[in-house]
Amino acid sequence: MIKKDLSVIVVYLLLLGTASAQPPGQAPDFLVPEPGYEWSFPRDHANHSEYALEWWYYTGHLLPDGADPTVDANWIHLQLTFFRNAIPAAGAGQLYFAHLAISGPEMPFAFAEHIARGTLGEAGSDETVQHVWLDTWRASVLPDGSHVLEAEAEGVGGIRLLAKPTLGPVLNGDDGFSRKGPGGSEASYYYSLPRMETEGWFYPRSSHDPRHEGRGHAEGSDAAPVAVTGTLWMDHEFGNQQLGEGLTGWDWWGLKLPGGEALMLYRIRRGAGGFIDESEGTFTAADGTTVRIPFDEVKVEPSSEWTSPHTGVVYPHGWTITIPSFVHPTSGKSGLTLTVTPVTADQELRTDRSTRVTYYEGAVRVEREGFDERTFGFVELVGYDTEQAKAQPLDLPVSSGSDGGE
């Protein structure tokens, strides 16, 4: 007999994917990504229920109106993510997770997580236009193509933003077919909107400890909203399985570059060391021209380490990224060197109540050699928690509600 704490039921869908955990029975067959997908926007912003996994990932940087943009401490950094996991049985619905993380002026990094089932409409994602929601959090695309983001959590803060894409959609990998492992089926469809001009309202978090009081406010925040402008980056990915066997995690960089350009890089690490050959990146020029960058042409030098005081997990902290073979698609200049520095050390998410993955999702400062303009980006580091990787995969907690903020 295995004892299972059902307050920690059980769902290891995110890392293992559903295909491997699929029991016999009336499991519906999910599609496996293959090259040659015919993209169609705005339809493809929406949900793809024929695939088991899907997520919408927004990261960005906001500046309160009137604040000096050259002062780093004035910026607000945010991450809002929606995950969808199909349960492989007819009518069993989905599991939706959402994470919201914010750091900013006098607001140390804080995050909240949310889970819901979707069988009763409390969470869901539309099949024709992008509209994904989980209780009061949502990310929707309006007919004019702009994205509306709304999310708020006690102790974290809130956003109500309108973001207009000015670059992309950028199809990553082979025309949006992005390999995540050596096997043919280990892939996802993946595109990015690397630059979205954003305006809206930021709701500062209440100053008191959220664990002890004051959840009685209609929208949770007591402080007055602040008008903000900034840029967001959106990634949308769907597929059937995240990581292949023997793979422990990934590093991902989504970096805005001076002159309205952008660079996305990811590498999937092997447990034995090194990373898979399929790791790659996409450079997007200001006019939308893209360049695929195989990761073996990229040199990544970590500049230091950071040990999480919460979990003891050690993460690399800051990088020098050089791509000597890079040739700019429009100017023809070669070489690309970037210095990437986290804006603050502690940007670790411990999502015990939803995806049960401890990961680092942090805002970074980007300095590009030869340019004065400094830009922002985000980095995601997954799978550094070796204890977690060893943990019994079924021992995952699932419960509802928000307030994971700390």
Partner: protein
């Protein structure tokens, strides 16, 4: 080292035993206060958890008023409401086990998110199942172990589930754990993921209930009003079990009583410290005379006393803090091990160190020690040196009579406050009278000893013999030394007994609450049970058949309707008043002054009703008031005959007699029938019997209630284990106090005993005398303590609880504890006398006589 410190230390080293006893006295006082305060927190925590386990975590329940189900479309907007932290959908499918025909309830819940709502999500699952099976297995359920037992199923087994005329094969994929105490709704159930349950029943989109937890800080009543307004007519929103005022009151009352205990402990602790330090200081008085005759100033003498008091206070308090923490931890661990092993609770194990409590206990020890030397220091520095060297004078100075008068005055004021408490501040009032009683006890002790002496000599007269007279005489002659020991003993006994009475009475009240919440042995219903939707009704024939049947002790029925009275939706319940009259199952808050059962006029057909206490409280209606009750056949004016206690429902209820209801509603069908079994009949026998009596003529199901009630009480008992542990701490402290006091007394009297030996008393006679004295002191202290203890309990019950909650605890006299405390206390007194007595009897006479001159 200063001269002051030298003198103090010298005194300590020449009389180590006495000094140790003084320090021990302070330590014990500080320890008891700290231990009780520290353990309180854990006790309240455990109690709250227990309440939660009994009735679930939800704050409120939403269900349909009429048709029995809610539209699932309600759920999403509901879960987005700002007041709601989480919401959980519940779908219910009733059916039967195909083989045993046993009624089984299937709960369809969202297994991904439901864990927050229900305390029982821990399952032992079959090896072949992984957790995903919960979502994808088309016919997999988790089952309570009790149900699995009854159906003789194990994890992995398949069985036939008959519902709505079809039979579905269902597999038990796991057993729910740690829920054996969970509320009635979750006891006899199996759980399935909601979409699967909908598929099984083929009724997608239907919910029977939505449980919600509000965000912290949200006012529950306001939130419920908002929900009601938003949901509109036809949907009911009610506070769920443990959020109901009655349960909350229970929790608050428990908390208050523990606080009151801490207060009693504070008094006792303060008193013990004063006692020991003061006694020691009196001893040292002679030194003061010596120092002054050698030219020491009055200020110098005062300083010596204060330094000594401070020294004893500091050392004693430090030891006390350590001892208190040990005691509290011991109590908490002992209790949590039981609770944890049985109920998988984890919070009690951690002793919450409340530094404020540590600090105040420490401070109490030091401050009271200093205060205790104050009067002696002052007196010793003023009296002429020669006089201070003589003990006689001091004894004369104790103004026995004056003390007694003051004590008596305190007693009277205390009694007055008990009789007519200051109702606006019942707690202040209660604490004041408690403090007055304890002070009165201490102040009247010397006088009381004189009285005891007079009574004993008069009663026994010559039969006492010379040694007997000497022994009894100690009460009068040495009362300055005996009184503190007696008073210490008395306060210790008082603390013991009042703690016990509080715990016992509180447990009684809980029992009443439980029995009132969970009544009868078996409940016969059709369709939905436990307040989910409107159940189908049972024909009155079923009731008639049961009431006439053999082998059934008693039967009650229940049927209710909701009508607006004064604009408030009010429940009218039809009951059998003849049964009420016969069974006396209702207890009355107010039934006027008329003789006979309050049910008489109702049975006689008068237009009278009973209303429940919560309804009376809410509306201000009283006995004799008239109500206009709308009925299908017109409005009827009814007079309120009596108000009854209702621990089970806070919505308020009007009880009417069956014939009147049938006449006006034209409907005699029932919602449920409560069956009471004769003693000795088991539940399964009872259930079979009821099924046999009813035969196949009614589509009803029979639920058992008795084992639920028992398991609930058992959990409460486990929670109370911590209060029993507190009592053990109190007993231990009491014994220590008595032992210390007696030791001090006998040690001091060595010289007297030596003289007794010098004038020809035998060892045996000396020892006998000490035993008699010890026994007397023990007995008197215990007697006084019992009286004080009862007074304190009365204060706790009738002032603190009653005026804080309008809730009278059922006072229970703990005769066993009174007897036990007597045996232990007198035994301790004898034992405490024994060692020094043997010493004293055996000591060299010459040295003994000189002992005082050391």
């Amino acid at each position: 080292m200063t001269l002051t410190a030298r003198i103090v230390l010298r005194g300590w080293s020449t009389r180590p035993l006495r000094t140790a006893l003084a320090i021990l006295g302070v330590a014990v006082g500080v320890a008891v206060l700290l231990a009780i305060r520290l353990a309180n927190y854990s006790a309240v925590e455990a109690f709250g958890r227990t309440l939660e386990m009994v009735s679930g975590r939800a704050d409120a329940e939403i269900f349909a008023d009429g048709e029995g189900w809610l539209d699932a479309d309600l759920f999403a907007p509901l879960s987005r409401m700002s007041q709601i932290q989480s919401a959980a959908p519940v779908f219910i499918l009733d059916g039967r086990d195909e083989r045993s025909e046993r009624r089984v309830r299937l709960l369809g819940v969202d297994l991904a998110t439901d864990a927050e709502m229900r305390p029982w999500y821990r399952a032992e699952m079959d090896d072949t199942m992984d957790a995903l099976s919960l979502f994808v297995h088309p016919r997999g359920v988790l089952m309570t172990p009790m149900l699995a037992d009854e159906l003789q199923l194990e994890s992995g087994d398949w069985f036939g589930f008959r519902h709505d005329g079809v039979i579905d094969s269902i597999q038990v994929i796991g057993l729910l754990e740690g829920e054996d105490v969970a509320k009635a709704q979750t006891r006899d159930v199996m759980v399935m993921d909601l979409p699967r349950a909908w598929q099984l029943a083929d009724t997608p989109g239907r919910l029977h209930r939505i449980d919600v937890i509000f965000r912290e800080g949200v006012d529950r009543d306001e939130a419920i009003m908002a929900l009601r307004q938003w949901l509109g007519d036809g949907i009911r929103v009610e506070l769920s079990g443990w959020r109901r005022p009655q349960a909350q009151k229970l929790l608050a009352s428990f908390q208050l009583n523990l606080t009151a205990l801490a207060f009693v402990a504070l008094l006792v602790a303060g008193f013990l410290v004063f006692q020991t330090v003061n006694t020691t200081a009196v001893e040292r008085r002679k030194n003061a005379g010596l120092i002054r005759s050698l030219g020491g100033s009055a200020r110098f003498v005062r300083r010596i006393f204060l330094v000594e008091g401070l020294g004893i206070g500091l050392i004693g308090s430090m030891l006390g803090v350590g001892l208190g923490m040990l005691l509290a931890r011991g109590a908490v661990i002992a209790v949590s091990q039981t609770v944890e092993s049985v109920y998988l609770l984890e919070t009690t194990a951690a002793l919450y160190i409340n530094w404020e409590a540590v600090f105040t206990s420490f401070l109490l020890g030091v401050v009271v020690s200093l205060l205790s030397v104050g009067p002696v220091a002052l007196e010793a520095s003023h009296v002429p040196p020669r006089e201070s060297m003589s003990r006689q004078v001091l004894e004369q100075r104790i103004r026995v009579g004056l003390f007694a008068y003051i004590g008596l005055a305190f007693l009277l004021i205390g009694l007055y406050l008990l009789w007519k408490p200051w109702t606006e501040h019942p707690i202040v009032s209660g604490y004041t009278s408690a403090a007055l009683f304890i002070l009165a006890g201490a102040l009247t002790t010397p006088w009381g000893l004189g009285v005891a002496h007079a009574i004993l000599t008069r009663l026994l007269g010559r039969r006492l013999g010379s040694f007997g007279r000497l022994a009894v005489g100690v009460l009068k002659r040495s009362r300055h030394r005996v009184a503190p020991a007696v008073a210490a003993l008395a306060t210790a006994v008082a603390m013991w007994l009042s703690i016990d009475m509080m715990v016992g009475s509180f447990r009684n009240t809980v029992e009443t609450w439980v029995t009132n919440t969970v009544t009868a042995d078996l409940i016969v219903t059709s369709g939905s049970y436990f307040g989910v939707g409107k159940p189908e009704l049972i024909p009155m024939d079923a009731f008639d058949r049961l009431i006439g049947a053999e082998g059934i002790a008693d039967v009650d029925h229940f049927r209710s309707v909701r009508v607006p009275i004064d604009g408030l939706p009010t429940v009218i319940a039809m009951v059998d008043m003849e049964s009420v009259r016969k069974q006396k199952r209702l207890s009355w808050l107010d039934h006027g002054t008329i003789r006979g059962s309050p049910a008489d006029p109702l049975v006689a057909g008068e237009n009278q009703v009973f209303i429940s206490e919560p309804l009376a409280f809410r509306t201000g209606w009283g006995v004799g008031d008239s109500l206009d009750i709308p009925t299908p056949s017109g409005t009827e004016r009814m007079r309120i005959r009596a108000i009854y206690y209702d621990y089970a429902s806070d919505t308020g209820m009007i009880l009417v007699h069956r014939p009147w209801f049938v006449e006006h509603w034209g409907d005699d069908r029932l919602e449920s029938i409560a069956v009471y079994l004769p003693d000795g009949m088991t539940l399964s026998e009872g259930r079979e019997h009821v099924n046999a009596v009813l035969g196949d003529d009614f589509e009803v199901s029979v639920f058992s209630n008795r084992d639920l009630r028992e398991s609930v009480l058992q959990v409460f008992d486990n929670t109370f284990a911590i209060t029993y542990a507190l009592r053990a701490v109190a007993i231990l402290v009491s014994l220590l106090a008595v032992w210390g006091g007696m030791m001090a007394l006998v040690v001091e009297r060595r010289r007297e005993l030596a003289i007794l030996r010098a004038i020809g008393g035998s060892e045996k006679q000396v020892m006998g005398r000490i035993y008699v004295e010890s026994g007397l002191i023990g007995t008197i202290g215990w007697g006084l303590g019992t009286v004080l203890g009862i007074l304190l309990s009365l204060v706790l019950t009738f002032v603190v609880n009653k005026y804080s909650f309008g809730w009278t605890l059922a006072l229970r006299m703990p005769w066993d504890q009174i007897a036990l405390s007597g045996v232990l206390m007198i035994g301790a007194a004898l034992l405490a006398g024994a060692f020094p007595a043997r010493d004293a009897a055996k000591q060299s006479i010459a040295q003994g006589v000189r002992v005082d001159a050391e």
